[in-house]
C-alpha cells in the first residue's frame, strides 16, 4: 500500500476532479452502461406501481418510527446484545471507532482482520488506521477487494468497483496475484479472487462486518449479501466485530422484512440476495462454529447532528441501497470518485456535510440540478432535493448568525456580496414601485451589463436584460400587467 492512498483526497477539491472526470471518455462510457444496467434491474423488480408506492410508504414509516424512538431503541438494543453476551461499544468519532477496534485486536494479539463489506469502516478509514499499527485488513467482498488491490476507494456504495472494466481488473489481478495470467473472462477472474481470499478467511484472527439492519427486540444483526464472504467473515474467525451507524436499529425484527425487500430490489434488482445472514449473539454452548467473542461498535460520527434537526433527520432514514446514485444524472456523469467522500451521489451529498462538516462539502450540495430523480426512487422517501436546498441555505448562512442547531461549517459558502445582491433582489421583488424602477433602469442600462459574470460566463454567454420588459410588451398589446 502507498503511504498516502487516494482516500485522502479532499471533497473540497470537487470542482477540479469533476472537470477531469467529465473529460474521461472511458469513465463516461462505463458509468452509462452501469447506470442503464442498474436502472433496468430495479424497474423489473417493481412491475406493480401500487405495490411499490405502498411499500415505500411502509419503509418510510418504519424508518421514521425507528428514528422517533432512537435513543430508547439503542438502549434496548444494547441490553438485548449484552444479554446474548455481545460486547457493546459506543464511538463518537471515526478515531474512537478505530481505537476501539484496535484495542480489541491488541487484546487478542491479532495480526489480521478479514472484512465483509462495510461502508461504515470505509467512513472511519479503518484499513489505513490498522495498517499504520501493523494489522492487516483484507477486504473480502470481490468489489472491495478489487479497489483495495488498486489502492482506491469504492466509487459506489453497493458496487464498489463499478468504475473498473474487466480489462482493468484482469490487469490488476495479473499484477497482484501470483500465477494469474491476464484475462478478461469474468468467471476466471472471480475464481482467481476466490482462491486468493480463501485462506484469508481461515487465517484471520478477527472478522469485521457492517450491518444492514439491527433489531432492538431480539438483538439480531441482519446482513445482506450475495457472495458468502460476509458469512465467512462473521463465522470462521474466532472474533466478530460489527461496526454500524447508530441509526441502523429498528424496533422489531419483523420491521426489517419490508426494508430488506426494498433494499435488495432497489439496490441490485433482486427479489432477495443469496444470503440473509441473521446473527443473534456469539456461538452458544454446544455449538461447533461461529465466533466465540462478539462486539458491536455503535458509531455516531456526525449522525447526531443530522438527528438534531427535524428536517435533516430524514437523512438517517437511508438504508444504503444506492438507488439515488443509480438514477442521478450528476453521479452518472462524474462517477463516484469525483465526490471525494465515502458516500457519493445524492445520499453522499446529504450525509457527508454531517460527517465532515460543510467546510469540506459545501460544493457538493450545489452539484445537483434538483431534478428529483433521487427522491422518486428512494425506497424510504427521503426528500433529497429539499434537504440539498436546506444544506445550501446553511452553507450560505452568515457564519456569525446564531441558530438553534448550527451545522458544522455553517456559512462555508457565505459571501457578503452575494447576500447583498439577494437582499436587493428580494427587496425589489417585494415592492412593486421598487421593482418597476429597477426594471426601467435595467432595460435602459443594458449596454453596461458586464460581459464577465463570474461563474455564469465560464460556460455560458452573458446575461443581458431585454430591450423591453415583458410588462412593456404586454402593455403595448393592450393587456394588463
Amino acid at each position: 500500500m502507498n503511504a498516502r492512498p487516494m482516500q485522502f483526497v479532499s471533497p473540497a477539491d470537487f470542482r477540479e476532479r469533476v472537470s477531469g472526470a467529465l473529460r474521461n471518455q472511458a469513465l463516461r462510457t462505463s458509468m452509462r452502461g452501469a447506470m442503464d444496467f442498474l436502472q433496468t434491474k430495479r424497474s423489473t423488480q417493481f412491475p406493480d406501481a401500487d405495490e411499490l408506492e405502498q411499500l415505500r410508504d411502509l419503509g418510510e414509516a418504519i424508518r421514521q418510527h425507528a428514528l422517533a424512538n432512537l435513543p430508547d431503541l439503542l438502549v434496548q438494543f444494547e441490553a438485548s446484545l449484552q444479554s446474548l453476551g455481545v460486547h457493546v461499544h459506543w464511538a463518537s468519532t471515526a478515531d474512537e471507532a478505530n481505537a476501539i477496534i484496535h484495542g480489541i485486536a491488541q487484546r487478542r494479539g491479532a495480526r489480521s482482520i478479514v472484512k465483509g463489506k462495510s461502508m461504515a469502516s470505509e467512513e472511519v478509514e479503518l484499513n489505513h488506521y490498522m495498517s499504520e499499527r501493523g494489522i492487516d485488513c483484507v477486504e473480502s467482498d470481490m468489489g472491495e477487494y478489487i479497489v483495495q488491490l488498486a489502492d482506491e476507494k469504492p466509487s459506489h456504495i453497493v458496487m464498489p468497483a463499478l468504475h473498473k472494466t474487466r480489462a482493468d481488473i484482469g490487469a490488476l489481478f495479473e499484477r497482484h496475484l501470483p500465477g494469474t495470467p491476464f484475462t478478461e473472462d469474468v468467471d476466471t477472474l472471480i475464481l482467481a479472487g476466490r482462491r486468493a481470499l480463501r485462506q484469508k478467511f481461515a487465517d484471520a484472527d478477527i472478522g469485521l462486518s457492517g450491518v444492514n439492519f439491527a433489531a432492538a427486540d431480539t438483538g439480531t444483526l441482519w446482513l445482506v449479501e450475495n457472495e458468502g464472504n460476509g458469512r465467512l467473515s462473521t463465522t470462521v474467525p474466532d472474533v466478530h466485530i460489527a461496526l454500524m451507524g447508530v441509526e441502523k436499529v429498528v424496533a422489531r425484527l419483523e420491521h426489517i422484512v419490508p426494508l430488506a425487500s426494498l433494499l435488495t430490489r432497489s439496490a441490485t434488482g433482486q427479489a432477495i440476495t443469496t444470503y440473509f445472514n441473521l446473527i443473534t449473539g456469539p456461538r452458544r454452548a454446544g455449538e461447533m462454529d461461529g465466533p466465540r467473542e462478539m462486539h458491536v461498535v455503535l458509531l455516531d460520527n456526525g449522525r447526531t447532528q443530522a438527528y438534531a434537526d427535524q428536517q435533516l433527520r430524514a437523512t438517517l432514514q437511508c438504508i444504503r441501497c444506492g438507488a439515488c446514485m443509480n438514477h442521478c444524472p450528476v453521479y452518472e456523469r462524474v462517477g463516484g470518485h469525483a465526490y471525494g467522500t465515502t458516500y457519493p451521489g445524492p445520499i453522499g451529498k446529504i450525509i457527508s456535510p454531517h460527517l465532515l462538516g460543510l467546510g469540506e462539502t459545501a460544493d457538493l450540495v450545489t452539484a445537483s440540478s434538483l431534478c428529483g430523480a433521487c427522491a422518486e426512487v428512494c425506497p424510504v422517501r427521503i426528500p433529497i432535493p429539499s434537504l440539498l436546498v436546506r444544506l445550501r441555505t446553511e452553507a450560505n448562512r452568515d457564519p456569525a448568525q446564531q441558530v438553534d442547531q448550527p451545522l458544522r461549517g455553517q456559512g462555508a459558502s457565505f459571501s457578503r456580496g452575494e447576500r447583498l445582491v439577494w437582499r436587493f433582489w428580494s427587496g425589489a421583488f417585494a415592492r412593486p414601485s421598487a421593482y418597476r424602477w429597477f426594471r426601467w433602469l435595467a432595460t435602459r442600462l443594458r449596454a453596461f451589463t458586464p460581459s464577465s459574470q463570474l461563474g455564469w460566463t465560464r460556460h455560458r454567454t452573458p446575461l443581458v436584460p431585454a430591450r423591453r420588459s415583458l410588462s412593456d410588451l404586454l402593455r403595448e398589446r393592450g393587456q394588463a400587467e
Binding site: 444496467f37 414509516a61 418510527h65 422517533a68 424512538n69 435513543p71 439503542l74 438502549v75 459506543w90 463518537s92 476501539i100 484495542g103 470481490m142 478489487i146 458496487m159 468497483a161 473498473k164 474487466r166 481488473i169 472471480i190 476466490r194 480463501r198 485462506q199 478467511f201 481461515a202 427486540d217 431480539t218 450475495n226 457472495e227 458469512r231 465467512l232 463465522t235 470462521v236 474466532d238 424496533a251 422489531r252 425484527l253 419483523e254 420491521h255 422484512v257 419490508p258 425487500s261 427479489a271 432477495i272 440476495t273 443469496t274 444470503y275 445472514n277 441473521l278 446473527i279 449473539g281 456469539p282 456461538r283 455449538e287 461447533m288 462454529d289 461461529g290 455516531d300 447526531t304 438534531a308
Partner: protein, 233 residues
C-alpha cells in the same frame, strides 16, 4: 474500550432532539401485515408453492430435485457419486442424515462435524467436497431455504464446502418471508445464526457480469421432498 462518557454523550444528544417517543408499534405491524396479506402465494396450495420454489431456485442456477420420502436418498446418492463427491459433511444423527448414510456407497466418506471448527479449520477448507443440511423450512416466493444451524449441522456446513446440498420438505414451504417469520415466531427467540439461502454464492462486482461461486458454495442442490398429503388426491 469506550467509556460511559461517549455512550451518555450520544444518547444525550439524541434525547435532546428526539420527539415524544411512540413505543407502541402495533399500528405499524398492522400495516406490515396488511401489506403482505395479499401476497400471490398466500392462497397457493403446497404443491404450487413447491413448483414456485423450484422455478425461482432454478432461475439462479440451483439444481432442484423433486422426490418423495422413500426415494430421495438413493436419488441423491447417485447424483453425489456422479459428481465425484468423495467427502461429505453430514449429521448421521438426524433421520435424513441416517437415510442418506445407509445408501451412500463406500467410496463416499461421511464426515460428522464432531469437533469445534478451530480444531480442523484447514482440513474443512481444503478437503471437504460437500455439506448436507436439512432446512428448517423454505420460502416459495423468493426460492429461499431457511437454515437454522445447530450443534450437529453447524453454519460452516452450508458455507465452506464447494457444494451445498440441502433438503427441504414441501410441507414446510411458506409463501413469503413475512409468513415464515410469523409462522415460526422468529421474534420470540432467534438462534445464534439463522441463514436464508437463495442460490449458490454469486457476484456481479466485475462490470455487472453475473458470476457464480464467489466465496460460498459454487453449487447448490436442493432436494424438495414431497410430503404433502392433502394435495395427493
Amino acid at each position: 474500550m469506550s467509556g460511559m462518557g461517549t455512550r451518555e454523550r450520544i444518547l444525550g444528544a439524541l434525547r435532546a432532539a428526539a420527539p415524544v417517543p411512540t413505543p407502541d408499534s402495533r399500528e405499524l405491524e398492522a400495516r406490515i401485515n396488511q401489506h403482505h396479506a395479499h401476497g400471490v402465494l398466500r392462497t397457493a396450495s403446497a404443491t404450487q408453492r413447491a413448483d414456485e420454489m423450484e422455478r425461482v431456485m432454478t432461475s439462479v442456477r440451483t439444481e432442484v430435485l423433486r422426490s418423495d420420502a422413500a426415494s430421495w436418498p438413493a436419488l441423491l446418492a447417485d447424483k453425489l457419486v456422479q459428481a465425484g463427491v468423495q467427502r461429505i459433511l453430514l449429521d448421521a444423527a438426524t433421520a435424513e442424515g441416517a437415510a442418506l448414510n445407509t445408501v451412500l456407497p463406500a467410496g463416499v466418506q461421511i464426515l460428522p462435524f464432531s469437533q469445534p471448527l478451530e480444531a480442523w479449520k484447514d482440513a474443512l477448507f481444503s478437503t471437504v467436497d460437500a455439506g448436507f443440511t436439512v432446512a428448517r423450512s423454505g420460502i416459495a416466493a423468493t426460492g429461499t431455504l431457511v437454515l437454522a444451524p445447530d450443534a450437529g449441522t453447524p453454519r460452516t456446513v452450508s458455507l465452506v464446502p464447494p457444494l451445498h446440498v440441502a433438503l427441504v420438505y414441501a410441507s414446510t414451504l411458506h409463501a413469503d418471508l413475512h409468513a415464515a417469520m410469523h409462522a415460526e415466531r422468529w421474534g420470540a427467540g432467534m438462534p445464534a445464526n439463522l441463514v436464508l439461502v437463495s442460490g449458490p454464492s454469486k457476484t456481479s462486482d466485475i462490470q455487472q457480469t453475473l458470476a457464480y461461486g464467489a466465496h460460498g458454495p459454487r453449487a447448490l442442490w436442493v432436494v424438495v421432498v414431497d410430503d404433502v398429503v392433502e394435495d395427493q388426491a
